[in-house]
Symmetry: C3
Subunit: 267 residues, 3 copies
């Protein structure tokens, strides 16, 4: 997987919290096995045990990374149950995660080449902590993989991934009903209404309505700068998701919006 | 720019927010093009769209880095307008940023060797998102540069950088009037009064006054440890800027101080 | 210390605050001297000047890292006093820190191979800032060490490290009285009651009592998943410390618990 000039890339996405000792220990564990890995922090502030949020995050971020990147995704409320741990090849990259739905939205978009159940204990720490499989099973598996251990060594193929409940927008009489799935640092409200899935919306005629807030945006813009500062706008953002924003301001603050709030798209 | 033992260094300074998917995507985009780059996070919590804050940050932090480091600085409220994107050589390092003033304070201190407008689309993603030039234009330009693409390939030289309003301290009857520009994690109040620019102040006779708070420090110290815990002190800090601090405590909390508050230095 | 495929590892643990310019400058300073170092952020949000917290953190995190890792630990309220700066070899790793107790708990557990006082100014920046020895003395010392400068060059051996007050649990009539030393992002309450030090506790009969909260857990579990969501449990966690948790919830929130709160373990 690696060469002298191309150290293996391992990214980390967790709900451990920023600056957490759990993140530090996970990094150490990876580097003990794969001393030359290049670690890239993606996110450690997934809301605790929020599988859907982490699944959204890794689907929208992994795509930017190069071939053969190994993504370690640890949001694991089921640690200690019989949930499996999987190693998967999806979109020419590797993913190591508990099989609790974290990889489902990504796998829906990009058919996995294969999924394996991580069962071979010689690649785990001995014994693994019963409460921290991220550090003691998933981290060393990612590291051994980047050292060149063949994927088939980690465990047998499985035929399916754990499926998350469908949270796609649904068609209603008022229009397409989606939800806010992420609020960024600018206060932009990112929704699950995706350009590819909702057909071509006519930019001038599309109406975006937030029922709880009682506000409506008429028309879609292409970029924030098309409207004056302070104006409420709707647009398809940089990951092709519908977002509601305030030009050079915070829509979240202005509207008191929260993750989960309903957004209706009609015309 | 690089050798086997010296991977190219690319630093990131943004207002995207910590743990943001925008940071993750930007990192992925860099690594897709320059697989062996060493990424160094400087700051992702610049206040949203606060160009002056980011300009202050990069001026005071880039100086510590080695020759040929490439600094990506993305605070870009004008994305989608006709503001340019620039690649500049300043103080033996490279900078990629929107030309909105981010590089002005640095360039005032260190005359740029050259500044280029980033116009050659073959080094951008195709097509770039109209709302995320950090990921789709600036990140790949930094990465191609670190791959050895000659700077002249990215676009033509320009003769000047966008200029920020002057926020230097001004002379008044009461003394030199500066402002708090940064409050650190210890609650120290860092001002824009700089040792090199305000002449030699006599340590014993200098008086630092905060009008809004109605407090005064008499005399400058050299280090926090010169005074007992809890005492309010003024000193020139590790970046040669005047700061007001409480020994082993928080001046920000004690005084209710905020960025922008006035500080008057007299004798 | 390093080879082409194994870049030197330098970790950073500080109280500078996340996204702080002090962290950025420290990273730059390291990379100026050791251009090929691999920097790993452990934690920059140690509570300001909280030596005991940082000492706990580095003891529990350094252990996960590979041989020869160099850990830079900077919580330095005594900067500018006559406190020493030390370079130590402990548990086959290197540590650079002010000698104020930061390394004491680790050294209690793993007898240091040697400790040196950092006195040789040719490895410092010239002159070092009187208020920022992390950037100007400790960072370049760590970097020169990783460049292969022999440890003995940095200064003479010293025979002891500064000792922190003992904060081990104490035996009382009610049982072993410990304290909460860390609250993680899940709201789990981590205590200083350690499996190795308190003898074998019978899982079924052990009682964990929080006097300030007036709550009691009867029995120890092995993993969160042994009890239903919402239940208050006690267990030895992934670093072998007794913790109090709520299954899939936050014990900190439920109980209003804080660092320093008393926990009594009896049977």
């Amino acid at each position: 997987m690696s060469s002298l000039t191309q150290p293996p890339l391992i990214t980390l996405t967790t709900d451990f919290g920023g600056d957490s000792p759990y993140v530090a220990q996970t990094k150490g564990q990876i580097l003990r096995t794969c001393r030359h890995a290049h670690l890239v922090d993606l996110c450690h502030r997934i809301s605790p045990q929020d599988i859907a949020q982490a699944a959204w995050f890794i689907r929208h971020c992994s795509i930017a990374f190069p071939r053969d990147t190994c993504h370690l995704v640890v949001v694991d409320p089921g640690v200690g149950t019989d949930r499996q741990i999987v190693l998967a090849r999806i979109n020419l990259q590797y993913f190591v995660a508990p099989d609790n739905g974290l990889l489902w939205p990504l796998a829906e978009q990009h058919q996995p080449d294969w999924v394996r159940s991580v069962t071979q204990r010689q690649y785990w720490t001995d014994p693994p902590s019963p409460t921290f499989h991220g550090r003691d099973i998933m981290a060393p598996v990612a590291a051994y993989l980047c050292n060149g251990v063949p994927p088939e060594n980690f465990g047998p193929k499985v035929s399916t991934l754990f499926r998350l409940p469908d949270i796609s927008p649904r068609k209603t009489q008022q229009g397409l009903e989606g939800r806010i799935v992420f609020i960024d640092a600018f206060g932009n409200l990112i929704t699950n209404v995706e350009a590819l899935k909702c057909g071509k919306l006519p930019p001038e005629k599309t109406i975006v309505h937030l029922p709880r807030q009682g506000v409506t945006c008429r028309g879609l813009v292409t970029t924030y700068a098309q409207r004056p500062p302070g104006e409420l706008i709707a647009l398809f953002g940089s990951s092709h998701q519908l977002e509601v924003a305030v030009v050079n301001g915070s829509a979240a603050e202005r509207l008191g919006a929260r993750i989960g709030d309903v957004v209706v798209v009609g015309n």
